[in-house]
Amino acid sequence: MSNMTTEVNISQENIVKCLDKAVLVVLTNISDDEVTVADPDSLAFFKNADCRAAGIILSGDILVHVRLITPVMLARLLASRLGKCPPDNLNDDDISEGVAEIANQLAGRLRMLLWGQQCKTKMSLPGGDDPLAPDGTKRQALPPVNRFFTCMENLLLVQLVLFG
């Protein structure tokens, strides 16, 4: 993992630690199940799986795009927990909306943890596009950091893209 340091002196490693903590807390609360960090070499699974994704941008002292990518089966289960309704009652829109709300909650928790490290950010609404620099030009994205987790016996991916 790169030891890149941002202007506020928070390392990418620390941001990822905060992200892991946020994912474990939020997903454990939503799923009411044990959530664990999974094998870091799980990307191949997501190349073939039917997935839903949602992203949130945190901007301020750092600029970061947090994306939640989950197989449809797990997205349906999590959305049903969020909506307190049976999984079979949910349509495609409900499932996508559920993933967006979970991304919102993850990013919110991450924002709080970053603030504890003196790194202040604001949060976009779910589903934001690639962030733009204040002058309107696209900033250079660092290679994405992929974090894999197991939740309700399914894999999910949380991707963190930091912009320099």
């Binding site: 939020v26 609360n29 939503i30 959305a79 969020l82 909506g83 307190k84 309704c85 409900d94 909306e97 559920g98 967006a100 709300e101 919102n104 909650q105 990013a107 919110g108 928790r109 924002r111 709080m112 603030w115 949060m123 609404l125």
Partner: protein, 133 residues
């Protein structure tokens, strides 16, 4: 009593509305801050509580709270904020602006129903005390 539930997520909004109905109140659902304000003005005399998500389209929860608190018509409506970050400065900002409390997402429905019941009971007590003066 009518309770306004404003949340950008339909799933979360429906789940909260179900809790409200389960404890014997009528939920009014809004998907953004603009709709929330319209419903509050339309039903101003009947609303016992407004639950506002912080991160909503059009007007966020804090902006909606500020609009509620700047008019005479809605100043009596208690506001409970729901936030995904529980960030201390935001919470203080909301309480200073007149919110009665906050819930950090994800919250349990038991926790939510307890908060609603407590807030409405406090509101009734305050009303009783005023009527005895």
């Amino acid at each position: 009593m009518k309770i306004l539930v404003a949340d950008g997520s339909g799933l979360v909004r429906h789940a909260i509305a179900e809790v409200v109905a389960k404890i014997g109140h009528e939920p009014l659902e809004a998907e953004d801050g603009g709709q929330a304000l319209s419903l509050l003005h339309k039903h101003s005399g009947e609303i016992g509580l407004a639950i506002l998500d912080w991160n909503m389209p059009v007007l966020n929860g804090y902006e909606t709270l500020m609009k509620i608190r700047t008019g005479k018509q809605l100043e009596h409506v208690p506001v409970l904020m729901a936030t995904s970050d529980g960030f201390r400065d935001d919470v203080i900002k909301a309480i200073k602006a007149g919110a009665i409390g906050y819930l950090v997402k994800p919250f349990s429905m038991d926790e939510l129903s307890k908060r609603i019941i407590d807030i409405l009971a406090d509101k009734m007590d305050a009303k009783d005390q005023c009527s005895h003066i």
